[in-house]
Symmetry: C2
Subunit: 363 residues, 2 copies
Amino acid sequence: VTAAEGPQYGILVPPVSSQNRESPLTSRGAPTINEVAALAGVSLTTVSHVLNGKGRNSDATRARVIAAAERLGYSANIHARGLAGSPAGLIAIQISGHSTEKFLPASAYYLELLNGASSAALDKGMALIALPGSAERGALARLPVDGAIVVDPQGDETILDVMRDRGAPVVTTGRPLVGDYAVSTVDNDHPTATLEVLEHLASVGYERPAIITSARRVSYAEDVIRTYRRWMAARSCPPIVARLKYLTAGAAESAARRLLTRKSPVPDSFFVTTDNLAIGVAMAARSLGRDIPSSLGLVSLGDTAAMQSPTSPITAVDIGPSRVGKESVHLLLRRLSGEPPPDQALYVPTMLHLRRSTRRSRD
Amino acid sequence: VTAAEGPQYGILVPPVSSQNRESPLTSRGAPTINEVAALAGVSLTTVSHVLNGKGRNSDATRARVIAAAERLGYSANIHARGLAGSPAGLIAIQISGHSTEKFLPASAYYLELLNGASSAALDKGMALIALPGSAERGALARLPVDGAIVVDPQGDETILDVMRDRGAPVVTTGRPLVGDYAVSTVDNDHPTATLEVLEHLASVGYERPAIITSARRVSYAEDVIRTYRRWMAARSCPPIVARLKYLTAGAAESAARRLLTRKSPVPDSFFVTTDNLAIGVAMAARSLGRDIPSSLGLVSLGDTAAMQSPTSPITAVDIGPSRVGKESVHLLLRRLSGEPPPDQALYVPTMLHLRRSTRRSRD
DNA sequence: ATGAAAGCGCTAACAA
DNA sequence: TTGTTAGCGCTTTCAT
């Protein structure tokens, strides 16, 4: 058997440019502000004012303009706006620490966040520009964006500097831990969520929970660990914390095995901050012959499809990645329209989903 | 213990706008073409021509212009270019099928691809606009992009239509299986890679490989399955194929358990098309008490950090997601500059990494 | 309450 | 080989 003649190709023909281009009767491309103005019987200035809510028009005019705009499916050309000096509707988004060198964090989470954010942006007539984890200052400085969203920042990201110099607003997902750049933040209330998890674990009889999380200095990890340490201290238990450089199932498996097979203290349950890590712990449990949940409890911060397996579902905190992305965009939009930053983080609610991995009969 | 006073906030202060804005001596923002022209002692037309390679200038002039541009760190304002009707340098990228409704595909792969693509774009002075999996035609039509990249298309994506109407080039990662839109494609040679995997499995003594892949009609899945079926047919073995709607570890685990515990035909190894799926198979093996590799072989299409666990590394085909992203951008750029589409797909080389999951002693 | 007109930075005819 | 100039679509003073 051979690979035949290689894969079958998609139909590949010359550029489509010649197809229905420059059709004489159709106005090429999107409708312009002039067409709207003409249709509404007003000047383009009026259209601009109405559509930008500069509120100095009669209700009648406003209504006509809006109707005309709707009918034409009009929306301002982003380049023209940008050129004219007002926010063009381009927002940079960077997933911090996510560089090419395989430092791959909880990926399903980020993809969902990205999806929620870009979707919200599109709804608002804006667009999200994806930035690689590593990007030179020069290239960033040249980007025609109105603001930026930084996911899981440490606080030392170049993009923060660049935006500061530009006087452009930044929204972070999670708090930057170092640096003093003024940002607005969308986050989950991780301390409370952590407490809820710990209390749940205790309530079903797990007495020595351990934490596995990222070694990066990101706020969610700090929040979880801090809360956890307090909780353990209050019960006079030694805290058990593993911080991993690579958030992979394999790394979590090794860490869990190590903790489960050492002298003491040995955990009887795990609270991990990524779905990948939960899978790793489940693998460790299986290979050690420890049953989940009867002999080991497991909770994930982050509820992805992987946690909802019919075979062995895992208790997880839904932290609403899509919602986080969406709210980040909305917050940035508000900042862009001149609203001052809120004086505290905006919290996306979390939801603990109890599943089999912690469903143990009380002793 | 309580959650203390909630999380600690990042420093949140008023907008930075007032800091070093409108400094009287500094020209606000990036240098313009005029400044370059002035510095080089030529007209702005000349600068434009030189920088866009319209090649009608003396070498001396060209050199001076380029020097001036470099010195100023000049690069054309993307909005001005866009407005003036030439490619502005904005490219849309969409991961097909990746909508908000948790249809989450092999995520590490996509994140790496995204990173490679955005990095390449930035290097070339362009920027990538992230599109949600689901986006209305209207919103897409309004996007000021010069072209689009569609990852793992089926062929019925709205963005394809929109770009066709616009006469804008599209590059896909994987071939669209339906529809007849003219696209250029970056891909791996999956048939050959599959063959290599199957031959490797056979060479170490696995006789009944099974496939687990996506239920989506995407080209990589078709390529793998088609090649596999031929191979099995040539050896008069019944093919064993599971196609999953959700590409999660849990789904793969169920599928693998089912296949391994049924009457016949029962596989002795798996070739799965995502790292998540490989993890699922590993979980199934453990819970069934089957040792990998001695009693079950496992190969993943896609080599992520998760496959390289020190504890139980998995044989995997590195399909170069970052490179795929990068080449997609480059190909689109070539199309944008008028080059005709190549008449066949551009292949990113793959590399089979042999690891423990298939390291079995020959019988 | 509404409109006229001046740019924003760039590209591309068209002139020279 | 080089320069002049007219827009691209929009926002925004400044008049009316």
